[in-house]
């Protein structure tokens, strides 16, 4: 009898967590899905209006700006963070003195929220008090750095700050990956006469494939969820030049009293996220099963 009970213990242990996730994540997603089909404005209501909110959403210039920004931001952010992360990891893997210190410096931005560093970034990028001003004071009068004030370039300043925050983390992932590479493979390549760069290009970097994938997933979800960053640095401005889906959703749901439209944008965001993450998870879990 007690042995039978023992068999159920694992499931009983897992049950509360799983139930919490089902209710607080999937239940809420369903609820949001429902809201997106209603005429909810300031507070949720249950007046069904079909797909009208979606039609409205895709008719909004803002939403299209937000999607375009996400595309620009996402692409640059993911590509540069991965490349920089890998590059720094390779540099750090060269038996560097003070590696521990440098690694910590590269990693620490991940520890701080943009609520905290946003102020410093805003200062730094502001032409009046920041880098441009400093350069002028140092005598470089022609120096110009006004991206954050330029509606065509402001999104790139967001990219700079975002890369600052997460490239160190990506670096740590790659460093872990590099340290896990079997030395014998490298020795074999050296015996084959491959030069250092060739070894990296042809052997080590291809072996980092799983890390690239993990980094891609982490960065993608950070990109789609970017919110604090935008709010702290530009508030979506100049104009709406740095609006992103997350800020769009927040403002329509909570400040513009168009909860239905906000909910429909949330559902579109979820679809985007899931279409990236689900195939990855599926292949990962499958791979795990095959290994067994």
């Amino acid at each position: 009898m007690r042995d039978r009970l023992q068999e159920w213990v694992p499931r009983i242990v897992l049950a509360p967590s799983f139930a919490a996730i089902v209710i607080f994540v999937y239940g809420f997603i369903l609820y949001t899905g429902w809201l997106s089909l209603t005429d909810s404005r300031m507070l949720p209501n249950n007046e069904f209006i079909g797909l009208a909110n979606y039609e409205k959403l895709f008719g909004l210039r803002h939403w299209n700006v937000a999607l375009k920004n996400l595309f620009i931001f996402g692409t640059l952010y993911i590509v540069i963070s991965s490349a920089l992360g890998l590059f720094l990891a390779i540099l750090l893997d060269q038996q560097i003195r003070n590696e521990g210190f440098i690694r910590t410096v590269y990693l620490y931005p991940m520890a701080i929220s943009f609520i905290v560093t946003g102020v410093a970034w805003k200062w730094f990028l502001d032409p009046g008090i920041g880098l441009q001003n400093t350069m002028h004071q140092w005598g470089w009068q022609s120096f110009e750095f006004t991206w954050i004030k330029d509606r065509n370039l402001a999104i790139y300043t967001i990219v700079i700050a975002a890369i600052w925050q997460s490239s160190g983390y990506v670096m740590a992932m790659f460093l872990a990956g590099l340290r896990g590479v079997d030395n014998e493979v490298i020795k074999a390549a050296q015996v084959d006469g491959a030069s250092g760069f060739l070894i990296y290009r042809r052997i080590i970097i291809p072996m980092m494939r799983p890390v690239f994938l993990s980094a891609f997933v982490v960065l993608t979800h950070l990109a789609i969820k970017s919110y604090d960053l935008i709010v702290a640095m530009t508030g979506g401005g100049p104009g709406r030049a740095t609006e992103m889906p997350a800020t769009f959703m927040y403002s329509y749901t909570f400040t513009r009293n168009q909860m239905g439209v906000g909910a429909s944008s949330a559902i579109i965001m979820l679809i985007m996220i899931f279409s990236i993450i689900v195939p990855y998870l599926y292949s990962e879990i499958r791979a795990g099963r095959d290994k067994k």
Binding site: M42, K149, R151, T234, G235, G237, P238, G239, R240, N257
Partner: protein, 416 residues
């Protein structure tokens, strides 16, 4: 929930029921976004007043421009059935919350103290819903002001501009003098504040038709195109670094002579006074050109939520304290606004304040007192946001004036 609160309340009763005039000592939780030094000091007047009556003040500040964050917090608090006692709120938000049925009823206190006689009808529009008092107005801000650095003005001819053409002449002159003619911060609500004044400058009727009534014809009219052209013209007098700047930094530019003038609500005065500038000598306050005699207002009010029985007493005490003439004077002299009560003497106020109070009374009389769109008193927040979107995009050069007017009509329609 209520049980918990009852517990907390009874705990504070034990501590605080000393020398309270009311039988019950209670507490009020106040959600607001007055977090800066001067505002907080002004609120402290209210807090001390209430604590003297045995009511504990539980402070729930949520900072962030014009209460955007605070409104999100409020939504979550109300949804969870844990609404604060009183919430600082602007115009249409009060109406919206009243429509949803979450606000309490202050009529008893209001009738007793005769609020109806002392609060201008334009404000009552927002303080009452369905014949019941739901909010206690603290102040009236007026948004169609222009703040000018006196020495910059002197250098530009010394004549305060009264019409649009005057204004352009002065701005041009200032530009020649090598200063930034118009200090501005590129944030949606600041763009909107200027836009409000520009539209009003084209006529009270036009403002009413386009902004208050959102008449599609007015929104897409030639007059609207002209309004956008004027905005475009004004934008040429901004410095290139205006985007995202806080309004008080723009004020600082006027204060230290870096810029000539700023179009901003009366709260800007506080910045000038704190920098020890004297109205009339060091700086000049005028109505935005072409808007003399009209007043765009917004009014901070404490909306009172429908709370449990045990807290109603304290809520009423607070409502009464907000309407207390002494508090209204104390708060508004600091804040730069004018009291919501019209029966308060203006002796404590400076020149600009006196002018503001007189203007308000006059405008109320003449029917030229309008709610400010940019500050939530001209249109509900979805309409307001839609207008902001277009105005801000236009200020940043995304549309021509013609396109902007069309876009505006479309955006307002979409938001309705």
């Amino acid at each position: 929930m209520k049980f918990q609160y009852a517990l907390k309340a009874s705990a504070s009763v034990a501590v605080l029921c000393i020398a309270a005039p009311m039988a019950m000592a209670e507490e009020v939780e106040v959600l607001h976004w007055w977090t800066s030094g001067g505002e907080a000091a002004a609120l402290n007047v209210l807090k001390d007043n209430l604590e003297a009556q045995g009511v504990t003040w539980q402070d729930m500040p949520v900072a962030g421009g014009s209460g955007v964050e605070a409104m999100t917090v409020l939504r979550s608090r109300v949804t969870s059935g844990n609404a604060p006692t009183a919430v600082q709120m602007l115009g249409f938000d009060i109406k919206d919350w009243a429509t949803e049925g979450f606000l309490g009823d202050l009529s008893e206190v209001a009738d007793e103290e005769g609020w109806a006689e002392v609060v201008p009808p334009a404000l009552q529009e927002f303080s009452k819903y369905d014949g019941k008092w739901i909010a206690a107005p603290v102040n009236v801000h007026s948004t169609n002001w222009m703040w000018i650095n006196k020495s910059a003005l002197d250098a530009a001819g010394g004549e305060a501009p009264e019409t649009w053409d005057d204004l352009i002449a002065v701005l041009d002159k200032m530009q020649e003098n090598g200063i930034v003619p118009l200090a501005h911060g590129g944030q949606a609500w600041q763009d909107g504040t200027v836009f409000d004044s520009v539209v009003l400058g084209l006529g009270d009727d036009f403002y009413k038709a386009a902004i208050i009534d959102q008449d599609p014809e007015a929104l897409a009219s030639d007059q609207m195109v002209e309004a956008f052209e004027r905005m475009e013209k004004l934008a040429t007098y901004f410095d290139p670094n205006f985007s995202g700047r806080d309004w008080n930094l723009a004020s600082a530019m006027v204060i230290n002579g870096e810029a000539g003038m700023q179009a901003m609500g009366d709260w800007a005065k506080g910045e000038f006074l704190r920098a020890d500038l004297v109205p009339g000598e060091d700086f000049v306050c005028i109505r935005f050109p072409d808007t003399q005699g009209s007043v765009l207002f917004n009014s901070d009010q404490f909306a009172m939520f429908d709370v449990s029985e045990d807290k109603v007493g304290a809520q009423k005490l607070m409502a009464s304290a907000v309407m207390d003439p002494d508090f209204q004077v104390a708060f508004n002299t600091v804040k730069g606004s004018v009291p919501a009560r019209t029966d308060v003497a203006d002796t404590e106020f400076d020149d600009c304040g006196k002018k503001g109070m007189a203007d308000l009374a006059e405008a109320a009389q003449n029917g030229t007192l309008h709610g400010s769109m940019a500050h939530g008193h001209g249109a509900s927040s979805n309409i307001k946001s839609a207008i902001f979107d277009v105005v801000t995009a236009h200020v940043n050069g995304e549309f021509s004036a013609q396109e902007a007017a069309e876009e505006l009509a479309a955006a307002v329609e979409a938001a309705q």
